[in-house]
């Protein structure tokens, strides 16, 4: 039996497969055996409750989805009182994603988070007016947000980047500099869908965030760029639907992965990925996940 556990910068997971932020909520505990998961990132929480964007909020695209949820959530107080206790009972590592419209909000929010395995800082949502990918696209703001979060907590801080940054490696270096324990690469891409009945963008905010298998080669490239340039652990996210997708991420050197939209197509995807990575490692005599890391060669031509 291969050892699937991973441990990096204060984060210890029984296996490297986590549920990504925003695609799941408590009802999934009925469907998936959460105890089997390496970790879960709860959907992005803000200081006060946000109602989110007007519907429609999601539609299908070829091999994926595009969403404009707008970070609907009931705020940190509700999270701490109602949600967190339930998450803690699930037998897996709990991470909470946080979102603020200003650096001060991020700082304040951070100070109200305790009793989780880590914080994922969402500076990469494409579906909000303030904060979101505006923060994550700019290395200086990204630095300041990360710094603010890190100075308000002793928990591991993971920063989730946007693939829409002008130079994602620069942003990665900034957040590392600011004290991030790890980087999640990456959030959704910005896309547009026109409703051919109304001739207008399907979303009220025009664009949405694209996710699912469609973006995998694009996201994988972002993860690859970061693992090569920045020496803190990277968590891969973007288009992972099966164990082979997961392996592509491990071979470029990520330390863990997050499964997002895939659960819409197959709620059992995260569990199947874990089982199959296990099988693959046994078959190929890998003793632990680290051995699979970073086998990608230098540029060859």
């Amino acid at each position: 039996m291969a050892d699937l556990s991973v441990s990096f910068t204060g984060i210890e997971l029984k296996n490297p497969v986590m549920l990504a932020s925003g695609v799941w909520d408590l009802p999934y505990t009925e469907l998936i055996d959460f105890e089997k998961l390496g970790g879960i990132v709860y959907k992005s929480i803000s200081l006060s409750s946000r109602e989110g964007n007007p519907p429609p909020r999601l539609t299908e695209i070829p091999c994926g989805v595009i969403n404009s949820i707008g970070l609907a959530n009931k705020g940190i107080e509700n999270f701490n009182k109602e949600i967190l206790p339930q998450l803690k009972d699930l037998g897996t590592e709990v991470f909470v994603s946080i979102f603020g419209e200003s650096i001060e909000e991020f700082a304040e929010l951070t100070s109200r988070i305790t009793d989780v395995s880590g914080i994922e800082v969402n500076i990469s949502c494409p579906n909000v007016k303030e904060g979101g990918l505006l923060f994550g696209a700019d290395p200086d703001i990204a630095y300041n947000v990360t710094k603010a979060v890190c100075s308000n907590t002793d928990l591991p801080v993971i920063v989730k980047l946007t693939p829409e940054a002008v130079d994602i490696v620069k942003v990665a270096l900034s957040v590392k500099e600011a004290g991030a324990s790890a980087i999640t690469a990456s959030n959704t891409f910005q896309g547009l869908v026109i409703d051919i009945e109304t001739h207008k963008p399907i979303f009220r905010r025009i664009t949405g965030g694209v996710s699912g298998p469609a973006i995998r080669p694009l996201s994988l490239y972002k993860a690859y760029q970061i693992t090569r340039a920045v020496d803190i652990p990277v968590i891969g996210s973007g288009g992972i639907t099966d164990w082979m997708d997961a392996l592509e991420y491990f071979f470029v050197g990520v330390s863990a992965i997050e499964v997002g939209s895939a659960i819409f197509n197959n709620p059992l995807a995260p569990i199947e990925i874990i089982d199959n990575i296990n099988r693959y490692m046994d078959e190929n005599e890998y003793k632990n996940i680290l051995e699979m890391k970073g086998e990608v060669n230098e540029e060859r031509c």
Binding site: W24, P27, E30, L31, E51, L58, E60, C63, N67, A72
Partner: protein
């Protein structure tokens, strides 16, 4: 008990302009409640990526049926599934509702599907049922056999469901009414029946990601802020929701 499973199709037949799929699922009758639905997709495929929400049409000991109207690519492909092939099925989903003993059902087009299932839980009542043409009026005899009084209308001749409801408005007085049909129909009906019924409920549709309350995509504005069609619905008190 909501599960995700790969289940075999055991029947695919035409019913009017629709496709009726029967799916093998032993014991489903113990779980599938009135008002609920499933999310269904072709196994092996990641395009279409999303499962499609479909109402229970009927449920028995070892199978359940769906009635599918082709709208786009997803429903078209589902309609072509052959017996022996497998579907991904997530469900039952949504809140169960109290069907009531009798009551009034108002169906427009494919809206008949969940109301037919609801009638399986009732002991009669009235069905006001409108469709484009005669071919689209399905399951009328079966509803009558269940003891419902069925009144139909077609756009070809006669008019819309709204016309039918207006003609029969007296029947609605003090009743519990359930509506399922296109948004435009619901909007018009709202005005027509407002002062008559005791309570009115409406089956709603929304584009769904997860179907189970995970992704917050099926939001609908209500008097109490956003609710979620997959989790808080799909049936809502008409007065509570903003339609369209």
């Amino acid at each position: 008990m909501t599960t995700f499973r790969i289940l075999p199709v055991i029947e695919n037949r035409r019913l009017g302009p629709y496709t009726l799929l029967r799916i093998k699922d032993v014991g489903i009758h113990k779980y599938a409640g009135c008002g609920q639905f499933v999310m269904v997709g072709l196994s092996f495929l990641r395009d279409p990526f999303l499962l499609r929400p479909l109402s229970f049409l009927s449920v028995d000991n070892d199978s359940f049926s769906l009635l599918i109207k082709i709208k786009g690519r997803g429903t078209e492909m589902l309609s072509m599934v052959k017996p022996g092939e497998y579907l991904k099925v997530l469900g039952p989903l949504g809140r169960t509702i109290l069907p009531g003993e009798k009551g009034i059902l108002i169906a427009g087009g494919i809206g008949i599907a969940p109301l037919f299932y609801q009638s399986q839980w009732m002991r009669g009542g009235v069905l006001l049922y409108g469709a484009k043409d005669k071919r689209e009026l399905v399951l009328v005899k079966e509803m009558e056999d269940r003891g419902l009084v069925v009144k139909t209308i077609t756009e070809e001749k006669g008019g819309t469901v709204c016309d039918l409801v207006m003609e029969n408005i007296a029947l609605l007085k003090g009743q519990r009414v359930f509506i399922c049909g296109p948004v435009a129909m619901i909007k018009s009906l709202r005005e027509i029946i407002r002062d008559y019924t005791r309570e009115t409920f409406v089956y709603l549709e929304r584009r769904m990601g997860c179907g189970i309350g995970g992704c917050k995509s099926c939001a609908i504005k209500t008097g109490y802020g956003y609710k979620f069609v997959c989790q808080d619905g799909p049936v809502f008190p008409l007065e509570e929701v903003e339609i369209g």
